[in-house]
Symmetry: C2
Subunit: 221 residues, 2 copies
């Protein structure tokens, strides 16, 4: 009874962060209340989809009125789990790791970077985003000390699998992978992959189609 009564569809889960961001930006503009139409516009989706998505979480709006922005924000945060503390380690402090360590979108949403690790021990002690870079060898100790559940991999592709293996054996069950490399992990471990180049390739595909598009293309009788 205390836990979410229903499973939330994966497509909906992926949009909850978008709604959260839209609600935050409404609050920044001192908007206290909004309709599904307004929120949908701010989030870049249509309102039917928004209402359907929210209906999976519960009934947090008022018919004829709309949604209380702060209340809905809290409910979505709670559903995602952002009301609890999430200690995170980042492994691989190159340009990208550096950017991630400084990324305010993490800290502002309940994620707390507890350690930055790099395999290159000559960088140990270097200060990045207020944290000293530590040796990768300390991973297991750090995971246990802080109860880290989420690991971020920002190493080159060649190192990523070894890092993932070490994370898993240290007890991490959720991995965010920025290395352009498919990781193999045991059942029960979640990996999400962010491939910067994939996104560019998908854009290129559509851009190419635009250029070769025939004027009478697009509709088939």
């Amino acid at each position: 009874m205390t836990v979410s009564p229903t499973r939330i569809p994966e497509a909906t889960v992926a949009r909850l962060p978008v709604y959260l961001r839209a609600l935050n930006s409404l609050l920044d503009s001192d908007v206290r209340s909004c309709s599904s139409e307004e929120l949908a516009t701010a989030a870049g989706v249509n309102s039917a989809k928004l209402r359907k998505d929210l209906s999976h979480l519960g009934s947090y709006g008022t018919r004829g009125v709309g949604y209380d922005v702060e209340y809905l924000r809290y409910q979505i945060s709670r559903e995602i789990g952002l009301t609890q503390d999430w200690p995170v380690v980042i492994v691989g402090i190159g340009n990208l790791g550096h950017a991630l360590a400084n990324y305010s979108g993490f800290s502002s949403r309940g994620f707390r970077t507890v350690a930055l690790l790099d395999a290159d021990d000559s960088r140990t002690g270097e200060l990045v985003a207020g944290l000293k870079i530590r040796s990768f060898d300390e991973l297991t100790a750090i995971v246990h000390e802080h109860g880290v559940a989420i690991g971020v991999i920002a190493t080159p592709a060649a190192a990523a699998q070894a890092v993932a293996d070490q994370m898993v054996s240290a007890g991490i069950r959720s991995i965010l992978n920025f290395a352009p490399m498919v990781l193999s992990v045991p059942d029960g471990v979640d990996v999400r992959m962010v491939d910067l180049s994939s996104e560019l390739q998908i854009l290129a595909y559509h851009e190419q189609r635009k250029s070769t598009l025939q004027p009478d293309d697009g509709v088939v009788a």
Copy 2:
């Protein structure tokens, strides 16, 4: 007849870069030929989905034998449009822009970064990844000079919409947005959004469910 005869489903397009990466990694290991089963494993999908996806591009395998790795790689590259040159500009050279400018996954796939722009003119002239940072004011001139079709936004959220507007008016029709901000653009302009924090939030949601999962959860009679 020279252009792709069929429309490729969006879900398939999103996976083509993954297949391409898997094929590259097979080639690195001197694997010249593979079955759909092997390639699917390397790409992290099941083989039925892989074959279905490839069937949208054409018939590039041999029954009873499998796929020629190099030939298939070429066909996918061509379909995505990676056999042509894609000049790219990156706007916002903070930590993330810096990381993107140095990211080898771009240059190795037909993407050519022609300019790095930043609104902070005190940074003009600074050398990053072999390119001098230039003023944002030069955007339109650079787009025209190099025929830039794809723009990358790595600015803070507050600046992103203005950058997008400028890109659109300069003629860019494909934008990769790393700023945590929904962009509004005219019809015909493609925006893909990469939100580093969203991915972490989706992981947190699943991690949270793992912790609260009942032992007899998962199946309902």
